[in-house]
């Protein structure tokens, strides 16, 4: 959506116009859910946090000023909610839930983007790789995981992500670099 269109939509959303708010859900829920799913490792949790993200948008949007990018504000809300959730889980001593592909609430291949012609062997290999990526992602330090996933799902620049996380740009890049190195090492030659 072009900036003027988004500005008009946000003006209506500020008045809490239901149609404008629904449009924001349609526009951003896939990417937000992807981020939350990969941050939490659980479909149920990610869907709950997605709802909470949009409820916060409804509550806070009158205070939002369209100066920077709306995405930065939106993804900050989602990332903060995921962080709070992780802290609560840690305090309760619960490990992060990792939904297995195809398992209850897990990302079955059929849920993922359509890749064209079915190829059972290829699909299986991909599924395994995704499972490994999920496990490796959950093994990364929270701050490293957050940067990689924010860059992937939010499409914000590293500079915007650094601002969003309130860290220097150099730190953000160093964390991303470290995380990718670990991911690559854990996945071997696959990537």
């Amino acid at each position: 959506m072009e900036p003027a269109g988004l500005e008009r939509l946000l003006r209506r959303a500020r008045r809490r116009d239901p149609q404008a708010l629904h449009k924001l859900v349609d526009m951003y829920s896939a990417r937000l859910f992807g981020l939350l799913y990969r941050l939490t490792g659980s479909r149920e949790t990610a869907e709950d946090l997605l709802q909470e993200t949009f409820l916060r948008v409804v509550r806070m949007i009158p205070e939002y000023r369209h100066g920077g990018r709306f995405e930065a504000w939106l993804f900050r809300i989602a990332a903060n909610l995921a962080r709070d959730h992780a802290r609560r889980q840690k305090r309760r001593g619960r490990p992060v839930a990792l939904d297995g592909p195809g398992g209850a609430g897990g990302p079955g291949r059929s849920d993922l983007a359509d890749t064209g012609q079915p190829d059972p062997v290829g699909e299986l290999l991909k599924k395994e790789a995704e499972q490994r990526v999920s496990a490796v992602l959950q093994g990364l330090a929270e701050a490293e995981r957050e940067i990689i996933l924010l860059r992937h799902f939010s499409e914000l620049s590293f500079r915007e992500i650094a601002e969003l996380l309130d860290i220097p740009l150099g730190t953000a890049l160093a964390r991303a670099h470290r995380a990718l190195k670990r991911l690559k090492a854990a996945l071997g030659e696959e990537v």
């Binding site: 239901p18 629904h22 896939a30 997605l50 509550r59 849920d111 990526v133 740009l169 890049l173």
Partner: protein
């Protein structure tokens, strides 16, 4: 420095692009999206109503403040000041502190009740309203008693 950062960013992006196909995520379920939209509608309606009530109440709040000011200005501050109006064994600072604390609590309780739509008679979770209303009225009464003690009414 900026150019170094840019180069570094591009390098990270290149590596991330290699991983992109593994970072795919499922889509949220359609029924959950529908539930989210319903929840948004409920919340938006609640907030619009609340804002409407605040706008409607604003003149009354102003009038109440003016009334309090008038009462305060017309207090009979005779010899001995307001201390003469307190009970003999009452410390004025403690009494004033209690009154302010009771007012704060009352304000918070009423704000919470307001948020929960009690004023419109909506049912809240677990039938909590009656207890909340009772507690709020108790704390209002407490604050008024403290105020009466201070002004000697």
């Amino acid at each position: 420095m900026d150019r170094q950062f840019e180069q570094h960013g591009r390098e990270v992006d290149r590596r991330l692009a290699d991983l992109a196909e593994h970072l795919g995520a499922p889509a949220p379920r359609r029924e959950r999206i529908a539930a989210i939209k319903d929840a948004i509608d409920v919340e938006a309606r609640r907030l619009r109503r609340r804002e409407g009530r605040i706008v409607a109440l604003r003149p009354w709040i102003g009038a109440a403040a003016a009334l309090l000011l008038t009462v305060g200005l017309s207090l009979p501050f005779g010899p001995g000041g307001y201390q003469a109006l307190l009970a003999a064994d009452e410390n004025p600072e403690v009494a004033f502190g209690n009154w302010v604390a009771a007012l704060d609590e009352t304000g918070e309780r009423f704000a919470r009740l307001f948020d929960d739509d009690w004023c419109l008679g909506a049912d809240g979770p677990n039938g909590q309203e009656n207890t909340d209303v009772g507690d709020s009225l108790d704390s209002l009464e407490e604050s008024l008693e403290s105020f009466e003690r201070i002004v000697g009414a």
